[in-house]
Amino acid sequence: MKKHLYPLILLAFLALLPLAVKSNYFLHLMILFLLWVVIGSSWNILAGYTGQVSFGHAAFFGVGAYTAGLLFQHLQLSPWWGMALGGVVAVLIGLPFGAICFPLRGAYFALASLALGEGIRHITTIAEGFTGGMMGIMIMPTFTSKVPYYYIALGLAILSVASIQAIISSKPGYYFVSIREDQDAAASLGINTTLYKNISLAISAFWTGMAGALYMNYMGFIDPHVVFSLHDYSVMAILVAIVGGVGTIYGPTVGAFIMVAFQELFRTGFFGLFEYLGKATGSPAFTTLSGAIHQAHVLGFGILVIVVILFLPNGVVGDWEKIKRNVFRINPAG
C-alpha cells in the first residue's frame, strides 16, 4: 500500500477541496488542471510508453468537443451524451491514421499526427453548414456552479490515470514499452507491433476525446481555433508530459499542475504583482512590464522547457531522486 500512499493523499485532498475553496477562480484553475491530467496522461501512454510521438492531440480533443457540441446542435441531445461518444469518435478519427502510419517506422506517425490536427481544424472551419465554421458552437451550461464540473473532471482524471496504470502493469503495457525500446526485438518476441501501436493510440485518443467533450460541456463555447489549436493543445500536451516526466504514471499529473500554474502566473502578470507595483510606485515601467508579461507566456514555456531538458531530462517525476539528492545537499539541515 505504501506505493499508493501519496496518490491516495492527493486524491483525498482533491475530493475535499471544494468544501474548503469557494472561489470560482481557483475551482476553474483546478478544473483546467484536471483536464490537463487527462490529456497529458493520454499523450503519455502513446508517446511516453509506446514511443509514438504525437504532435496532433488537439485533433482528438477537438473532435471530442465537437462531438458533444454537434450532437446538441443537430439532434438536441444533451451534450452529456457527447461525453459518452466523444472518446469513441476520437478513436474512429485516430485509427485510420494509425493503420496507415504504424506499419512504417520513424517520423511518419509524428508528421501525420501534425497534419491530422491541422487538417481537421481547417475542415471544421470550412464545413460551416455542419459545424458553424468560425462562429463556433454555443450551448447553455447545465450547471451554474463550478463544483459539479470539478467532480466530473476529477472522476475523469481518476478513471483515465487508473486505467492507464492498470494497462501499463499488464501485458499491453509491457508490449508498449518493448515497442518503444526496440521494434525488431519486440517483433522477435511475438509482439504484433502494428496492432499494439494502434491499441495504444486508441486508448490515448479515447481519453483525450473525453476531455474534449467535458470541455464543451464546461466552457459552453468552442470554435475551431480554440479546440484544434496546435500550441494550446497539441504542443501543450507534449509540454505537460515532458515537464512532469515522460513514461511515468504520475508525471503528466505533476506536469499538468506546473503548466497550469505557470500559464496562470504569466497570464495574470505574476498574480497582479507588477500591476500592484506599478500602482504603488507610480512608475510606468512596472505597468508596461505587467502588460508585456501577460503576452510572454509562450516565451516563459520556452524557458521552462529548456530548463527542464537541461536539468531534469526525465521530468520532475522521472528525476525525483535527483531533485531530492540535490535539495538535501544544498540544505543539509533538511
Binding site: A187, L189, G190
Partner: protein, 239 residues
C-alpha cells in the same frame, strides 16, 4: 519431410545477391551450425527464417508449414525463437521485465508471465542480475539476456546468432554449457558462430556458406577437412 528445411533460398538486395540458392535440412533435437566468413549471408539467412524480411525466392518449411514471408511475431508464435548478433536489449527495462515481456507471448496473466520469466532467468543463470536495467549489463550478460528472452517465448527451434562473440574464455565455457542445456531441454538449435572452438565442439552437423552459396555440409570433422572451407577461411595457399 524434414523437421525444418530451407529450400533454394535466395535474397537479393538490389544488384547484390546476399544469399544464393541455399538449401539445408535440420532434424529435430539437433544442434546445427551455420558457418562462413564475414558477409557470407549467415545473418541474412536468419533474418529470412525469422521474418525480418521475406526471401526473394525459395521456401522455409517448419513442421510441414511454409513460413517464408510471414511476419516476425507470427513466426515467433509458431515456435521459432531467435537472438540478434547485434544485441537488442530493451534498455530501459530491467532484465526481469525484458523476459516477462517475452513470456507474454505464451501466457496472458502477469502472474504466469512472471513465474515463466523467473524460471527462464534461473535456467539461463541471470537470476542475480534480474533487477538490473538491461542497458547497464556487460556484453556477456546482454548475450545471455538475448538467449533468455528467446527461451521465454518457448521456442521449439532456436536461432542463435553469434552468441559467443566477444566473450572471454570462462564465459565461453558457460555459453557452451547453456546451449547444450537448451538442447537437452528439447529445443532444436541452429547456431551461427565465428569461434571455431565453439561451433566444432557443440554442433552435430555444420553447413558452410561463402558469398551466399553452400560450399560444404557434414559433421564438424568433415567440414573442417573440406578444401573449399579451408580456402574460404584461409585462402588458396592452404587449401
Amino acid at each position: 519431410m524434414a523437421y525444418f528445411r530451407v529450400e533454394k533460398l535466395v535474397k537479393k538486395f538490389g544488384g547484390l545477391t546476399a544469399v544464393n540458392d541455399v538449401t539445408f535440412d535440420v532434424e529435430k533435437g539437433e544442434i546445427f551450425g551455420l558457418i562462413g566468413p564475414n558477409g557470407s549471408g549467415k545473418t541474412t539467412t536468419f533474418n529470412m527464417i525469422s521474418g525480418v524480411y521475406p526471401p526473394t525466392s525459395g521456401r522455409v518449411v517448419f513442421r510441414d508449414r511454409e513460413i517464408q514471408g510471414m511476419k516476425s511475431h507470427r513466426i515467433c508464435h509458431l515456435g521459432v525463437g531467435r537472438t540478434f548478433q547485434v544485441v537488442k536489449p530493451l534498455g530501459r527495462m530491467t532484465v526481469l521485465d525484458n523476459v516477462i515481456a517475452a513470456s507474454f507471448s505464451r501466457v496472458n496473466s502477469m502472474r504466469e508471465a512472471r513465474s515463466t520469466a523467473l524460471r527462464t532467468l534461473e535456467f539461463c543463470g541471470l537470476s542475480p542480475v534480474q533487477e538490473v536495467l538491461a542497458k547497464s549489463l556487460p556484453i556477456a550478460g546482454r548475450k545471455r539476456l538475448e538467449i533468455a528472452r528467446a527461451m521465454a517465448t518457448r521456442p521449439e527451434l532456436l536461432l542463435l546468432d553469434e552468441t559467443a562473440a566477444g566473450l572471454n574464455p570462462t564465459e565461453l565455457v558457460e555459453a557452451i554449457e547453456l546451449i547444450r542445456k537448451i538442447r537437452e531441454n528439447g529445443t532444436t538449435v541452429i547456431i551461427i558462430e565465428h569461434i571455431m572452438h565453439v561451433i566444432m565442439t557443440i554442433s552435430d552437423r555444420i553447413h558452410a556458406i561463402n558469398f551466399g552459396q553452400t560450399i560444404a555440409e557434414g559433421t564438424p570433422k568433415e567440414v573442417a577437412a573440406n578444401p573449399a572451407v579451408i580456402e574460404a577461411y584461409l585462402g588458396t595457399d592452404y587449401a
